[in-house]
Amino acid sequence: MIWILVSVGVVLITIFLLYNSLVNKKNQTLNAFSGIDTLLKKRYDLIPNLVSAVKQYMKHEQGLFTRITELRTRAVTGDLPDDEKVAVGQEISGAIKGIMVAVENYPELKANENFFTASGRIE
């Protein structure tokens, strides 16, 4: 009799532990996702600065700027579902890369930057 009780107890405890570990793992994934989310938000805050910093030099890349601003407003204002959040984030990554590549086409920007860093060192 006691053995039956013990084995039932063991089975119950195993089920309990299994269930708990599953819930734990699920929460971990949610946590990891919110980690991505906060970082994405951090990047969204940097975008307006980037745009205003290079806009005046790069008159020919207006298309890139409007696109990235548009994407940003979409990401910041709307409460998007998770998979869309990731998709918008990826698009913004692409847009930022586009701007970084475009920067190379504007030697005055680069030159300026080199000048300032150089001058900074001299001071």
Binding site: L18, K25, A32, F33, L40, K42, L46, G89, F116
Partner: protein
Amino acid sequence: MRIFLQLQAALNEVEEQISAARRAYNASVLEYNNALEMIPTNVMAFMMLDEKRVRIKKKLVPLIALSAVIVIFSFGTAVCFKMDLSVMTVPFGICAILISGWYLKFYRDFAGSFKEQVIKKIMGFIDPGLSYDKDKSVSKDLFLESRIFQDRADRYGGDDFVFGRIGKTDIQFSEINVKRVEKTTSSTGIGLKRRTKTYTYPIFNGLFFVGDFNKAFEKKTIVLPDTAERIFGRLGQKLQSINAFHGELIKLEDPEFEKFFVVYGEDQVESRYILSTSLMAHIMDFRNKTKKDIFYPLSRQRYSSPFLMTGPFLNPVFLNPCWIFRKSKNILKIYRSQSALSRILI
């Protein structure tokens, strides 16, 4: 311009952090999925399923015993009282009702959850690109489009729909059951009472496979097993050249292929364009492996191939434990050969 430099550095940093966070997320998702699918939880689901099976099996045993008692008892009384043996239809009818009641109430439910829990996983395991729906089937339009059978398809049904994408080819297959219904009216003499009798003739019952074809073509070509030439030889070939339903006979240059198959098409050139040497070799190879008659109707960018099968295709046998699933080997064989065909077509 220092602002820009700082910004660039900040953005790069965030970008790197995001990719790290993404990796962390992926790792935790993987762990969670593994825990969900791996042994303990899965085994629990399986055990529950098998308990269900044992339960419904137990319910059947007294039913069969009861039926046997009813039949023997009524047979005994019929013999004792020298009654006409046609009375026996009544006890047989009762037994049939009992057992079909069991089927409707318990077996269907069990088969449903078996398919949901076991077959779905098996299909996912065979190829991750495959999905499974236990209730749907290949659509009637696709069946009709293949134009392989000349009879009217009055009743069309099926289940165990498997669909998905292998490489770049969309494929689907399911069990289907097609019947033709014929109604005959006859007057039975006295009183000129008209009687309508309905007969159903099976047209096709088996696995029906449909896949995309890699070449663009307009007209229809059909590859049929060549029974006439094997039996009647030369004369058979003469007979074959007349077939109004399928179109013109296409004589192919491969004698080995010609021995086993006969090809009809609506366009001589197009049919030869479709049946390339590699496709013919594959069909031959498949035939040699299965030793079964193969049909390949090709029409409108698709090829389809029906397999005649005996018995239902993916149903559990309630006498065996759930983990003994005999038919999966059969399905695998058919699936492999078909997906090999799809790969050749890509």
